[in-house]
C-alpha cells in the first residue's frame, strides 16, 4: 500500500519531468524551428498551393 503510494507520487513527479526534458531536447534539436512549414505538406509541384482539386459537380453554374 505505502509502496504503491510512493510509486504513484514518484510517477506523478517523474512524468512531467520527463516531459519537460523531452521538450528541452526537442527545442535543442530544432523540432520547433519553422514548425509552420509543415502546413504546406499536402501540396507539391503537381498539386501546388492555389490549385483547387476535385471540383466535379455543377460545372455549368455561372459562379465559376
Amino acid at each position: 500500500m505505502n509502496v504503491l503510494a510512493i510509486l504513484m507520487i514518484g510517477g506523478v513527479l517523474a512524468v512531467p519531468a520527463v516531459g519537460l526534458w523531452a521538450l528541452h531536447w526537442a527545442s535543442c534539436n530544432g523540432e520547433f524551428r519553422l514548425i509552420d512549414r509543415a502546413a504546406l505538406l499536402p501540396f507539391d509541384e503537381e498539386e501546388p498551393v492555389g490549385q483547387p482539386t476535385d471540383l466535379i459537380l455543377n460545372r455549368h453554374s455561372p459562379t465559376t
Partner: protein, 222 residues
Amino acid sequence: MRYGPLLFLGILFTLASSWVGLVLMPNRQLGSLVANSSTNATGAIVLYPQARSGEAQQGAEHYRSLGCIYCHSQQIRPDGFGSDIARGWGKRRTVARDYVYDKPVMLGTSRTGPDLTNIGERQSDYAWHYAHLYDPQITSKGSLMPPYPFLFQKRKMGQGGPSPDALKLAGEFSVGEGWEVVPKPAARQLVEYLRSLKTSFDLPEAPLPKAAEVTDAQPPAK
C-alpha cells in the same frame, strides 16, 4: 515538428495518464471490495450482497444473451437526482458494493423500460413475469418491450387440465381449446434471476432511510 520521438512520447504519456487514473486507480480502490456483514434485529449475521443461486445465475446469462441491458438499467441514482427513488425503483442509491458478484456488471445506459435494480422485491410473482415475458401487452398495455415467445412452449393440454405453471391466457392472447403455453427452463431461470435482484439492504456507505423517518409520519386519524 520534424522528428517522431517527441510525438511518440506525448502519445504515450497522454493515454497513460487516464489509464492510471480511470483504470488502475478504480481497480485499486474497488477491485477487492467484499460483501458487507452486519447483524440484523434478531442478532443473526447478514451477508450482503450474496452470490446468486445456480438457477438465478443461469438466468443472468439469458439476461446477458438476450440483451435486456439495452432497455433496462440496474442502478439507482441518489435521492433527489432523477426520480429513481421517488418512483419506488429502489429504497436507496446503489453503490459499488451492490455489484461485487456481477459478471458482467450490467448497469445499463438506457431506460426505454423501467429500472430493474430492485425488481425482485417490487414484483416477485412468477405468473406475472411469465405473462409479461410471453407478451408484455398482457400485463402492460402499450409497452415497447418485445414479446419472447421462444422462451415458452405451446403444447397439448394433458388429461388433468392445464399444468400448474401454464400461463393463464384469455381473450386475444388465448391459444385455443386443449392447448396450453408453459415456460421453458430458460424462462424460469430468467424469472429466478429477476426475482434475485434486490438491493433493500443497509450498507454503511449507503444506509436505507432510517426507521425514525419511517414512523414519524402517521396517516390522518379517521
